[in-house]
């Protein structure tokens, strides 16, 4: 089997990463991609263009909301913010992910 890159492993977890990032502070799309890359020491790299369809989908689901704002360098940018529904969804997704990761870890620990 061909080795999978960390980016492949990230696929399907994008919504979770976006929701988690926005739970810390509202930010724009580029800010989300930079946060994920920085916190993961570059291991996780969000496919930048794919981020926006994901943001649109999450906004349509009511998990996040957005509004135009101004950056520290006085640039106009679209800022995304987690909604109450999004915060609850994040809790649910985190619980699912932790169960999945624990199950995976348990299997990998077997000798």
């Amino acid at each position: 089997m061909a080795p999978r890159s960390p980016t492949d492993a990230l696929r399907g977890s994008l919504d979770l990463l976006v929701l988690k990032t926005l739970s810390l502070a509202p930010t724009h799309g580029w800010g989300i991609s930079q946060h994920v890359q920085r916190i993961s020491d570059g291991v996780l790299e969000v496919n930048q263009g794919s981020l926006y369809p994901a943001l649109q989908r999450l906004e349509k689901q009511g998990l996040i909301t957005s509004a135009w704002g101004t950056t520290d360098h006085n640039r106009r940018a679209r800022y995304y913010r987690l909604t109450g529904t999004g915060r609850r969804a994040l809790g649910h997704e985190l619980e699912l992910w932790r169960r999945f990761a624990a199950g995976l870890e348990a299997v990998l620990r077997t000798s």
Partner: protein
Amino acid sequence: MIRLEGVLARLRLFFARRAAESRMNEEFRFHIEMETEKNLRTGMSPTEARRRAAVAFGGVEEHKEDMRDGRGLTWLTGMSLDLKLGFRMLAKSPAHHRSTLALAVLGAVIVGVLPALRATGPHLRAALGNLSGGAKAQLGRTWTVLIVTQVAIAVAVLPPAVLKGRALIVQATQQPGFAADEVLAVRIERDGDDVSDTETPSSELAASVRVRQAELTARLASEPGVVGVTFTDVVPGREADARIEIEGAGTSERIRTHRVDASYFDLFDVKVAAGRSFSSGDMALVSNRPVIVNRSFAAELTIGGEVVGRRVRSR
């Protein structure tokens, strides 16, 4: 009652698609610029920084399509574009006109003439010949009436259909002379008011209309993305013909007229070459209303002398 909610709904629908496209473009541009600046800080040349940022972002059009799919508007945009292109092709070339006409004739032959010939062909005539004399005479008259009626309808309907088709093509392809993509036109009707286009409204009704127009203007102007609001009796380019008498010219002319309000010319950024523009006070007048004419009117109509200050009468 003016159906304001319907107007607002159309207005929001109109702006929704444009706003979504504009937002998408601006977000993508911001993202790529931020990534470029980040690359520049690492010591890359501007060209390389920009190139790497574009590569990291991926196919812009592909991402746009994903987002349009997410909004569920792709089919609508495609259909609109297909229609627009179709009409443009028709208008650009006389050959297209001819081929369209040929196709229309062919269609008429297939769906009209051939079935008619078949229906009145030898087999049917033979079958009719076997009927008794009275029935034969009766069916003969029926067929004659049917065929004459069919031909009469075809002859009567064809010219208006051709004219209407031509008008639709012209409307869809002509350059209106202003940024039509940025204009939303909505027809407003008032229930219970018996006012025709040619009738001069009473002063009471005119005052009532002005009040409602002011309310509507305020509501529409408060909507995000609305630059301005104006009222006209017809959309530009669809003016009705009217016959007028020009003072001192001793003749009447058929021209296209257009009733507008005071903000009309400002909104379309049209400068008045001579005389003055309309004022809000002009809108309250029910007679002796001021008129603005275009350069063609002044140049082509042989009215003689100065145009500004001349009086015209609508017949």
